[in-house]
């Protein structure tokens, strides 16, 4: 976090000054480790074993926050008799067939379907469109045993599930001493409970795995058991990888989501609005309100053309026919199935895995549009690429038409950032963008305007969506810049008849009388005030600082904060008082906007026939869930298991020590000759664990940092980090060169030999890890090979995030030979003449004028 979020880390340092203990779990010793109290260097890809070990410790030593667990989680809920755990099936859950799970046997006893909030419809998941009878959606009066003794209650199932995740097993899998693991376990337990809370912060080191979602699930289970969710100083913070990337999932650029995490409709399962709503909403819990958000979204997009009779033009939305994820699209592009591609503010041939396959895909496109500040490696794929340097591909043979549009920076346009903590902050335009540079909003608006003009005279049914789109944002200035302010107002939502801005999503309806661009953002412009632009200093308000910016939902700063109070509504402790029930006012009050019905008393219990929001009891903080409880066990919504399980990465150096099932059985993979996997543990050809990381000085795929001299001089060259032991074994010289190879590609980099990397001892063998930062590419003021070219196209099945944090690799001393490819000649073959320091400059490089001439990369 110190490396990648140095400004946010300010608050960690302040917590440390107030006595917080800082534990850093990372394969590498980084600048965060330097200020941490404890660094735990686990093997990349083994966090579920580590966290699962912590879960087992909490359960075995009964260190869980019992009252919280019994009342606020589904620990007491009894699961179907048909359920079988990984302990029964050597690494599989019941219901596995043909590469995916049928979760029928995972449901609560007596309830055929327990819907998950916001589940997506890519695969026909439970709850997706097959039933007519929505009675089955309500989760009330489920079977529970609050003594937690019933063998099929979640608590006992969980205990059994992690029973073999002992400290000794953790040591064997993760490669750390048992004593270190126990130190973490004791520290966490000692610092959780009524009076103390612990927080977990994670980033892409957790998400970029084939079991990434299950990593987060394990942390959620741990934090629920310890009573840390919804409480100040607790929780799980997902540190995102880029400014406003939270916003890019809230108002999504993701294929399977609509704004506010509404599911994108599926062509087969959601043929009409009714089917869609039936299959996605729940009859209990807050997600029962979902139809209001969907209809209001359609009204925002299609305006007057959207009526009840035409189902608000739901049928005109694009519907999914399968996975259209980034990785699937790459595979489709490589197979010639994609005609055109917009790449906006992203540089996938550097930032995403398997660059060779990506560039193959780009070569198959008819057209490519790239918007960025400067030409990126993605924009320049047709002349800057390893395969071009090797002579395998010639630019003149590539037929793709490439358009590059310069983009305005955030200081050259109005808009918002939505960052990791769900906080929206408005930013004001300070100067005009130079030359032809324009904002993304300008581009999208004018493209849409031109499309609408083009389609204005058509009559075809399938063109109706474009004709009906409301596209009347005011524009200003010589460039006709659309008003971001107007867009934000639409996102907030308004009454259709009057235009009055709504105060929040509780005012939205499903009868077409309201419009709202994103329900979770509703309220960001309440009372006609741009709440996101507020900047009251923290010295002038409470420590929660609710008047700085605006946080979704409804300016709540801490989600599920009802859990900061006991079931009876009193705070768990004075020290951790946050939100509580005031009997005098008959309201929930406190330091934050209560994440609960303001006037629902703790003692409220739903009647037998209660529906929708009325089903949420007064002591159920997790209102988004159909049963109002935190899910230790997830009966639906996750495609690879109701409980997290340690699986080895796709490419691993060792067998799974716990199960015969080596890898995630439901993982996404693409079996292709042009992109092989290396799936042989203990293979001398690729015996090392490779991981990627970031540096403070550079930023993501380099487009924003490798053109700036002041950043580039701080970290000028691609390097790898190896332990002194590995350096001795492979003859690597500190400051020298090395060639890193995997089953797909090879790169060259400088070598840093450092004690910050340490060998691991796993099940009798010494395993070395290698870390490489992924910021470099062939375009920019400073250049280098692309580290992500090494990694396979292979992903988590829930969210399609690639496993770019771990694979198997080989390392040899010396520079890459231009004429050699590891896959062809073998990873350890050293052949061909040293190409010399000019090797990376062989082809013409774009966009560098005489007065910004690059400096030569010098070899020391």
């Amino acid at each position: 976090m110190a490396e990648c979020h140095p400004v946010g880390f300010r608050w960690v340092m302040k917590a440390k000054e107030r006595g917080a203990i800082l534990i850093h779990v990372d394969p590498r010793y980084t600048r965060t480790s330097a200020v941490a109290d404890l660094h735990v260097p686990i093997r990349a890809g083994t966090d579920i074993a580590f966290l699962g070990g912590l879960v087992r410790y909490v359960l075995e030593h009964e260190r869980d926050f019992r009252e919280y667990v019994v009342r606020y989680t589904n620990a007491a809920t009894i699961i179907s008799e048909a359920f079988r755990d990984t302990e029964d099936l050597d690494g599989l859950f019941s219901g596995f067939a043909d590469g995916h799970y049928d979760p029928t046997s995972w449901q609560y006893e007596g309830i055929p379907i327990v819907p998950a909030a916001g589940h997506k419809e890519v695969v026909a998941q439970l709850g997706a469109g097959k039933r007519e009878d929505h009675e089955l959606d309500r989760v009330v009066n489920e079977h529970r045993d609050e003594t937690l003794q019933h063998p099929r209650c979640v608590y006992q199932i969980l205990r059994r599930h992690v029973s073999r995740y002992t400290p000794e097993m953790v040591s064997r899998i993760c490669g750390i001493p048992e004593e270190q693991f126990l130190r973490v376990a004791r520290a966490l337990c000692d610092n959780s409970g009524r009076d103390r809370t612990s927080a977990i912060c994670y980033a892409v080191g957790w998400t970029q795995h084939s079991v990434g979602v299950q990593y987060i699930r394990t942390a959620a289970i741990l934090q629920l058991l310890l009573g840390n969710i919804g409480r100040p100083g607790g929780g799980i913070m997902a540190l995102r990888g880029h400014a406003s990337i939270q916003g890019s999932t809230d108002i999504p650029t993701l294929f399977d989501l609509l704004p506010g995490y509404l599911p994108m409709p599926h062509a087969e399962h959601s043929r009409d609005l009714g089917a869609y709503l039936r299959s996605h909403r729940s009859a209990s819990g807050w997600w029962s309100e979902m139809p209001k958000y969907m209809v209001s979204l359609l009204k925002a997009w299609f305006g007057d053309a959207a009526t009840k009779d035409n189902e608000y033009l739901f049928g005109r939305l694009p519907h999914l026919t399968g996975s259209h994820s980034h990785l699937q699209t790459i595979a489709d592009m490589a197979d010639g199935k994609v005609a055109g591609y917009f790449v906006i503010g992203e540089n996938p041939v550097v930032g995403t895995v398997d660059g060779a396959l990506q560039r193959k895909g780009l070569r198959e496109l008819d057209w490519l549009v790239v918007r960025d500040f400067a030409p990126t490696e993605t924009a320049e794929f047709w002349r800057v690429a390893p395969e071009i340097d090797r002579g395998e591909i010639r630019p003149e043979d590539i037929a793709t038409e490439v358009f590059f549009f310069p983009a305005a920076t955030h200081t050259e346009k109005d808009g918002t950032f939505t960052n990791t903590q769900r906080l929206l902050q408005w930013h004001h335009k300070a100067i005009e963008p130079p030359g032809d540079a324009r904002s993304d909003l300008w581009f999208a608006y004018h493209l849409g305007r031109r499309l609408k003009q083009r389609y204005a005279g058509t009559t075809g049914e399938r063109d109706l969506a474009i004709r009906a789109l409301t596209w009347d944002y005011p524009t200003e200035g010589a460039h006709e810049e659309p008003s971001a302010d107007a867009v934000l107002r639409e996102i907030n939502g308004y009454e259709v008849a009057t235009g009055r801005l709504v105060d929040g999503f509780t005012e939205l309806t499903d009868d077409g009388s309201t419009a709202c661009g994103c329900w979770i953002y509703s309220g960001c412009y309440r009372k006609g005030v741009n709440q996101t632009a507020r900047r009251k200093s923290r010295t002038e308000q409470s420590w929660v600082a609710p008047e700085w910016g605006w946080s979704w939902p409804a300016n709540r700063r801490l989600l599920y904060n009802r859990a900061s109070a006991a079931p009876d509504g009193t705070p768990w402790s004075e020290r951790k008082r946050y939100v509580w029930w005031d009997p005098g006012q008959q309201r929930w009050i406190g330091h934050d906007v209560p994440d609960f019905f303001a006037d629902r008393p703790p003692g409220y219990r739903p009647s037998g026939d209660a529906r929708g929001l009325a089903t949420i009891p007064g002591d159920a903080p997790f209102i988004m869930q159909s049963d109002g409880r935190g899910w230790l066990f997830a009966p639906s919504g996750i495609v690879d298991g109701p409980l997290p399980t340690h699986y080895e990465p796709q490419e691993s150096v060792i067998e799974n020590q716990l199960y015969g099932q080596q890898c995630n059985p439901a993982r996404e993979q693409w079996v292709r000759r042009d992109s092989p996997y290396h799936m042989a543990a203990r293979d001398r050809r690729f015996p090392y664990v490779l991981t990627t990381f970031r540096l403070t000085e550079q930023h993501t795929a380099g487009a924003m940092s490798r053109w700036l001299s002041w950043l580039s001089e701080l970290q000028p060259e691609l390097f790898c980090e190896v332990s002194p032991e590995l350096a001795a074994e492979r003859g690597l010289v500190h400051g020298g060169w090395a060639t890193l190879s995997t089953a797909r590609a090879e790169i060259e980099c400088r070598v840093l030999v450092t004690r910050r990397v340490r060998p691991l001892h796993l099940d009798g063998q010494v395993v070395h890890q290698i870390g490489v930062p992924y910021h470099w590419g062939g375009v920019g003021r400073v250049r280098g090979d692309v580290a992500n070219d090494l990694f396979p196209i292979h992903a988590d099945p829930n969210v399609h995030i690639p496993e770019s944090k771990v694979c198997t690799a080989q390392i040899v001393a010396g520079r890459r030979s231009q004429g050699r490819t590891a896959v062809i000649d073998g990873p350890t073959a050293i052949g061909g003449p040293d190409p010399g320091p000019d090797a990376v400059h062989r082809r013409d490089r774009p966009g560098i004028s005489a007065d910004t001439a690059p400096r030569k990369l010098e070899e020391t």
Partner: protein
């Protein structure tokens, strides 16, 4: 003279992010110093110079044995800067009067007066000041003299996310630093101040940009007992006088003795 202002850099709060280096370069529009991987941990800047006025040092210190915190090293980081010495060697060496002490007590090189003679360069015991090859003049940290005119804090102090770099009146900073050292020692850290006043560092008269270190000064590339060249001047003169007197005594003595 107005209040003496300075920097207190608490290295125990430094996370090595180099925001200070970038903020300084950006505010002062300094050129880059080349793009070379040095292999010196994460320090590719190497030293302060004419175009680098903030420099973060990184020292990977091997820890012996098997410490229970899991690490094999400690990583010590520090944002180095011109020390703005109370008794500045560069100022004393400058023959043109280009280098002066401002109303804030900072040491400032007037670029329109500097003739590029370079006398200041060897006179600095810390190796801070250097001449720029293209224009020949000597350059170094100005304690953001221009920002101070506008009541703004120096760019590096503003950018530092953890307040490792603290800016303000020197006596306040000293009091804060002493309290901080006490606190850290109670926590078991071997912390000490470096250059906090003339008593601690007689060779420079004390630094207006002083540090809190958690290891020997050499680890941070700081000299343990820096002294401006004229620090020994008094003794040198006395030695010269004593030597001359001694020689004179010998000479007179031998003449007197030989007269017999």
């Amino acid at each position: 003279m107005t209040t003496t202002l300075g920097f207190f850099t608490d290295t125990t709060l430094c996370i090595g992010c180099k925001a200070c280096e970038v903020a300084c370069k950006q505010w002062n529009q300094l050129p880059d110093d080349g793009f070379h991987l040095t292999g010196m941990s994460y320090d590719n800047t190497v030293a302060l110079g004419a175009s680098t006025w903030r420099h973060v040092t990184f020292a990977e210190r091997a820890l012996d044995g098997d410490p229970t915190n899991g690490a094999r090293i400690a990583w010590k980081m520090m944002s180095d800067v011109c020390k703005h010495c109370e008794r500045a060697g560069c100022l004393e060496a400058c023959p043109t009067g280009a280098i002066l002490q401002t109303e804030h007590g900072s040491i400032y090189i007037q670029p329109d007066v500097c003739n590029g003679c370079g006398y200041c360069v060897p006179a600095c015991p810390f190796g801070v000041v250097a001449r720029r090859e293209d224009d020949g003049r000597a350059w170094k940290c100005t304690l953001c003299y221009d920002r101070l005119q506008g009541q703004l804090e120096p760019a590096c102090a503003k950018a530092c996310p953890t307040d490792s770099i603290q800016f303000g009146p020197l006596d306040e900073l000293r009091a804060r630093a002493e309290a901080r050292v006490e606190l850290l020692r109670v926590r078991g850290l071997d912390a000490h101040l470096y250059g906090e006043d003339g008593e601690a560092q007689p060779g420079t008269g004390g630094l207006h940009a002083f540090f809190l270190l958690a290891d020997e000064p050499e680890v941070y590339n700081l000299p343990p007992a820096p002294a401006v060249p004229t620090h020994g001047a008094g003794r040198s003169w006395l030695a010269a006088v004593a030597g001359a007197a001694g020689l004179a005594a010998l000479a007179f003595g031998s003449v007197l003795l030989s007269r017999d």
